[in-house]
């Protein structure tokens, strides 16, 4: 192969660098770009056409003069060196340690793009994960190998909720290896510091790997960071037998970086200027959650995204919802009532919950209690809306009872402390206590035998 170093960069457009007169360059190849002052930036080939290559520069193109650059093509795709020693460490968006510790000696190098998991080799996610948060555990159960995003909006405490889940997540079995891979994309210093401090304070950092790209770090690095994190997670899960919880925040920043590159390439835009391949691109991140038949470990994802204008039909939450197995939606209205975590119970959903609950996994009455709570809360909310229009006097006695139930449900069930770690049994108990506010005849979605067994006896009628 001819020389792989070129001084023929001609154009810089946004994050892209056009190099001419190249030969033998392949798509997806990694590059080192040497600036005049000797510093080196990384890039990746996005397109090759004849003797022209388009290189996407990870650290941004500021201060670059095309005439003085030396572009070296490395002939290999972007890889990360992975090792079990990464636990307890903090890295930047390129996978370099930033916690002052020594470099990692990799056990192996892996292509960060991974390969698609064969659907035939997948094992179905059905093991319950206890997060200690009632609205998730009881109503929108998370299972191992699932991808369950948090749809939030600016000003809502999604970071606190994500940190709480990371801190408390456990299973009902004992003696399993568990760890957290955390990837921050374009979040603020304060937010990043919050997570790091929280992990340090609780000792969770010992079993965590952190990748941090701050809001003022190069946006293009955000393209690689979720893939670096997931490659690390897959290594820990499938080769080190760990159950890995991956938290990605904030996917909205990721998508904006993608849009920036797409715009620089003058691609035909899809909805709201996002590229037409946004769905495919997001799926190559989300679909990396899962379990594999015959292996112990698992990768579970909790991506966090902020919905622009609280709009669920915006392309980012919309396409995410089509790929992920449900969503936890945070609500400004509930937040306004001073309730933490402000989970909007009715539109939230875990598609895999039915597989992870019931006898032997959580408790026999779980599904029934869940459905009854949903139904009762929905009816209470409806009654409240009606009361707003027609006045409370228009409500029947039973509807009034439901209104009181809905209030209590929000106040006691949804609301919980940031340090409050409820077991699934405590959550179920709480559910039963609330249901006891309603007449027994209203509990149509619960089997008689469970009502006899679990319904608190002292206050059967409110």
């Amino acid at each position: 192969m001819a020389t792989r170093e070129y001084r023929t960069a001609r154009q810089i457009i946004g994050p892209l660098l056009m190099v001419e007169g190249v030969e033998g360059i392949t798509y997806g190849e990694l590059t080192d770009i040497k600036l005049e002052d000797g510093s080196i930036r990384r890039g990746r080939v996005l397109e090759v056409s004849g003797d022209k290559a388009v290189v996407q520069v990870f650290e941004g193109t500021s201060n670059m003069d095309p005439g003085t650059l030396t572009v070296k093509f490395l002939g290999k795709p972007q890889e990360i060196g992975v090792s079990e020693d990464m636990l307890g460490r903090v890295f930047d968006g390129g996978g370099r340690p930033i916690d002052g510790g020594p470099n990692i000696i990799p056990e192996k190098w892996v292509n960060i793009n991974g390969n698609p998991m064969n659907p035939y080799a997948r094992d179905f996610p059905n093991e319950f994960i206890q997060t200690g948060v009632s609205t998730i555990d009881l109503l929108n159960t998370l299972v191992r190998g699932q991808k369950l995003p948090i749809f939030s909006a600016s000003g809502l405490p999604h970071s606190r909720l994500a940190a709480q889940v990371a801190r408390q997540a456990t299973t009902l079995k004992s003696g399993e290896k568990f760890c957290v891979v955390f990837a921050a994309m374009g979040i603020t210093f304060e937010e990043a510091e919050f997570f790091q401090a929280d992990f340090r304070r609780t000792g969770a950092i010992e079993r965590a790997v952190l990748f941090i790209n701050l809001a003022d770090d190069p946006p293009i690095e955000r393209i690689a960071i979720p893939r670096i994190a997931l490659t690390t997670a897959e290594f820990l899960a499938y080769e080190k037998d760990m159950h890995v919880l991956v938290i990605l925040t904030d996917l909205t920043n990721y998508c904006e970086a993608l849009r920036e590159i797409s715009a620089a390439r003058k691609e035909v835009p899809g909805r709201r200027g996002y590229p037409g391949y946004l769905y495919t691109d997001l799926s190559t991140i989300y679909e990396r959650a899962g379990r594999i038949k015959g292996r112990t470990g698992s990768v579970t994802q909790i991506p966090v995204l902020t919905m622009p204008e609280d709009d669920k039909t915006h392309p980012i939450p919309d396409l995410t919802g089509y790929i992920t197995e449900g969503q936890i939606i945070l609500s400004r209205a509930i937040h306004g009532q001073g309730i933490y975590p402000p989970v909007d119970v009715l539109p939230s959903l875990s598609r895999l919950k039915n597989k992870g609950i019931g006898e032997g996994r959580t408790r026999e009455d779980h599904a029934n209690v869940m459905n009854q709570l949903y139904a009762a809360y929905a009816r209470g909310k409806n009654a409240k809306e009606l009361a707003v229009v027609l006045g409370e006097s228009a409500l029947s006695e039973i509807d009034l009872l439901y209104v009181r139930f809905a209030d209590a449900f929000e106040d006691r069930f949804i609301r919980q402390g940031e340090e409050e770690n409820r077991t699934i049994f405590e959550s179920l108990e709480l559910g039963w206590q609330l249901l006891a506010m309603l007449p027994r005849t209203e509990l149509k979605r619960i089997r008689e035998e469970y009502i006899d067994k679990y319904l608190p006896k002292q206050e059967t009628t409110a």
């Binding site: 090759v48 390969n115 064969n118 909805r271 190559t284 679909e287 039915n354 929905a378």
Partner: protein
Amino acid sequence: MTNEQRGEVVKVSGPLVQARGLAGVRMYEMVRVGDARLFGEVIEIRGEVVSIQVYEETEGIGPGQPVFRTGQPLSVELGPGLIRSIYDGVQRPLDKLVEQCGAFILRGAEAPALDRSVEWDFVPVAKTGDNVVAGDVLGTVKESVIVVHKIMVPPDIPEATVKKIAPVKGNVDTVVAVLETAQGTREVRMAQSWPVRMPRPVKSKMPPQVPLVTGQRVIDMFFPLTKGGTACVPGPFGSGKTVVQHQLAKWSDVDIVVYVGCGERGNEMTDVLMEFPHLKDPKTGQPLMERTVLVANTSNMPVAAREASVFTGITIAEYFRDMGYSVALMADSTSRWAEAMREMSGRLEEMPGEEGYPAYMGSRIAAFYERSGYVKCLGSDDREGTLSLIGAVSPAGGDFSDPVTQATLRVVKVFWGLDANLAYSRHFPAINWLTSYSLYQQTVDSYCNAHLHADWEKNRKRAMALLQREAELEELVRLVGLDALGAGDRMTLQVARTIREDFLHQNAFDDLDTYTSLPKQFALLKLILHYEDEARAALDAGVQLNALLNLPELEKIAGAHLIPENEIDRIDAIREEITKAVAALPRY
């Protein structure tokens, strides 16, 4: 292949590769790209420069690398062994790939679509000396406990004489017959291949006549599909598209089901793979997997192969239809297929149509659905086959004005519109009864009137009118409150609610509720309408409204859908009880 013709890569941009030096190459011809010899398909020819969509990740491909012609269009292999298989978008068997390269799909992995190590028993039907035409059955192979696989004269042999045919045991490459044609002798093997983008020929097409029974009450009763018909299921995420598709794949009364998971979740395909072998087909009592072919190209698998996956699926489906079977194909989701088209179109720098979709998207979708139908198959025995198509659509933002939904609605005859609000209130299947429609309703009504009960159409129309009236009344209630309604209207609300909660609502995860036969559906609806008749008569006779609204027997109506199929008589018994209970109410 000897005497390979080589071209050279000039440009790589994601899944799109451009090459030159491939003189004589045809549109949609398969080529192998680069040193890694990745599968690709020619999608544009501009003078010397040929654009190729590549079915695998193109990392590591660059200008100067070779491109090889194969001379063949993208084809699927058709023969015994299709049933129970799970393929990716270009018919690579996923189970074999696991054996070959582990849990992740590596580039360049290859395996024959039909397993060569399996031997089949061929039983001749034709005899030596017989004159046969295209589509005639030469013999059969018992492929699964349910499916008898017919080996047919390939469509490209118009007529021939059987020169040699005998019982034989062997793999799919085995020659089962030798035919004497006008162009010389031709060997017929157990397996044939067919280009996916070309519909398989039939003798004639006829309008669909017979309902496709799905066991889903809202569908069979109010928005029925026919064998050979087309339907679409659009809905926002979380509204239950995939559950509807799975239910249809499980319970449709067809012989063969082809399920195409196109750009959807990996875990969903795993769900199908784990569940189907344990579920029993209600018609034959055999595991559902014995009649199912799966095509899975999940969202993270290469986008070009996703574009091909629906064609792979439908060609397999057409092949079974040609044997004279009733076949149903579920595609989940056609929006991902359209997006794959959009992505390739964008990379080809074509002028975009609506929302970046290519201008030809509408005609591609129409051509796809047109491959369905109730047909007279090729062959002299005039056998009939049907191919029904059910496509899920995932409109952006749940908005049905999205171009894919609109293009689909222009061609399909049945529309099951899923509604997010119904899903939030946990009403499943979340098919909105006010917006959905079926253009087969008349056909199915007259069929059911004749074959099930003369009142079928009458009852259906009455129930639908109640639901429509309920929607109007609810508007009114929102303005003036419930108390302002008269007793008759209150009764309408009550009956409509019963229809919604005890008939339309159906729990896919309950063993007894998941499937309801047509006679039971009729009995359930009749029961609810009977309550209405009795209650209205009682109202006129001076019975108090509240007594009728709180009739304890209503709970029996609510439980009637859980009565097992073989005890339908019990539903009639409840009817009697209602008559008695209403008669016993005090009159003023």
